[in-house]
Amino acid sequence: MNKFTYSSAILDGYNFLLTNYSEVFVIGQGLWSPWYVGNTMKDLDKKFGKKRIIDTPVSEGAVTGAAIGASLNGMKPIVVHPRMDFMLYAIDPIVNQAAKWSYMFGGQSSPSITIRGIINRGGEQGAQHSQALHSWFAHIPGLKVVMPSTVSDARDLLIASVLSGQPVIYIDDRWLYDQEDDLLPANKINLNSITPRILEKGDSITLVGCGYTTFLLRKITQKLKSHKINPEIIDMRIINPFNKELITNSVKKTGRLFVLDGGWGPCGISSEIITSVVENVPPKIFKSKPSRMTLPFTPAPTSKVLEAEYYPSKEKVFGFIKSIFDNNL
């Protein structure tokens, strides 16, 4: 076992992939500079050369499209978008091309491509530098969307994505980078074998999150317990395809559901989770209404004062969950 942070675990994933698979290369803006992607890609260009770690012109669309094209010709590229907001320039290659490619041609060809979009919010960066758009991509058939929340998943989901032979959106979050954990050496992983995971067993309420929100839920576990609330915490890990079994079964046991999402509410993953539970759990089992906390339905503000209102915090989430029990909602 070795000690890793979330960000060094991502780096370990890259190292594993680049060492063992000659068809893997990484392409995106800022890959030759520590400025863009923190230490998640530290010195990869020195170790594997600038032919496999390719820094690019400011052209998200063509770069993403080119990586898709390279994958059709036998490579397994990873595209890096240091901020998800800029990735929107690449919507055509992602949504029209990569996601549809296999279906349009009757399953004869598949882009084997991982597109890493980094959520990079807070810090007074404002509306165009801080979006969490995972739900958008989860709406599209033909795209897999993975959101590592833990240190081990940061590495292992990257490896599983790249080896899946499919178009995968891998979304990591800067607010998770400093977590620490001990990990076994990296190994090959099958993306199809990965399902949501119960991080904390409990019987009072089912709490569901993905990416950063799972982290927040874990942070308030002890405090909830000290208030006699034993939460069952489920980390989604993969939001497309959507796996409902574990969540549904958990709610059948706890009778309560709370979803925390770092994106907006309407048409978002929180809506999908609640819908799937309502559709699959008999009404009489619910002890309270299923509920959720998401971002307010506005773009992200810039001011620090407003940001404190805008983003969820341990206190806000704890207060919300406790009110479910206090008021027997």
Binding site: T56, A62, G69, A70, N73, G74, F105, G106, Q108
Partner: protein
Amino acid sequence: MKEYSHNSELESLTSELEINIDNFSKNELLEMISKMILIRNSEYKIAEGRKYGLVGGPVHLGIGQEAIPVGISKYLTCKDQIFGGHRSHAHIISLGVDLKSFFAEILAKSSGISKGMGGSMHLFAESVGFYGSVPIVGGTVPLATGSALANKLKREKNVSIAYLGDGAIEEGIVHESLNFARINNCPIIFIVENNLFSSHLNIKLRQPKELTYRFAKSNDIESKLIDGNNLPSICKASEEFIKRCRNGEGPFFIEAVTYRWLGHVDWREDIDVGIRRSQKDLIFWKKRDPILRLKKSLIKKFNLSMDEFKLLEKEIQKKIDKAWNDALKDESPEWSKTKKYVFKNN
């Protein structure tokens, strides 16, 4: 609206005269003209099928543009990667796709080259080097660029081809791709089939100039401007650029000026819906028919007779009719089997 006229550069490029067939042999020219006739008459077959309802969905026909892909494909192998767009029947036929499987796809049969999932606008035949065509304008241009990058990373001497039109060159992602290809020296040839029209609008109403190779120059990419209705001149440009790509050069850019006889979509001429598309222009361009010009030159140079051509055309038609009729008998895809196509490797 003012009477439309071409600029002098374009006027001097096109011609109704016979073609200088240079050092090309009789056999290779006959083989290529046969391919051009195969493409044209296959497309007329599809046009008829569309008109009478056998073909569903939009079909984009390229009658009048046959010389370009035939001249390009002559120098490609099945290890190269060719990407097309919405008007790609000619591209894939010129590579030697199995005609019956191609027609089966146009007719949305499960025996089609895209398993009946694509139809006319989504063609795929990796066995002949055709890596895919899709109807998002310019959508495959970055893909072809990346495929070329992969050739370079793998140190393989294969070439990627991006077919695009004068409409696609107006998409931002195409310009990003030109720059990306150049800065990474990708072995790709961008081939602009400039037929002077987007779906309906003449290029003069969309761009300040009728010719698009200026975008190659602005990206420092070597280019050739050619008469797209002159097969030998296409062959010469194609042979040189493909050879140089295999030797580690590239990217390159070919602009081939041509004209489509039919409208943007389906079987009509669309004089009425095309903006600045007139009967006069159609007559002007039909005199520049790439097949007729080549045929006249062949007859003159090799002492062939019109009857010999008629015989050849009859044989080709027989082949087309058989493939079409065979394809018609095949089954539609089964709904229950299609869900697994969403992800290939699940």
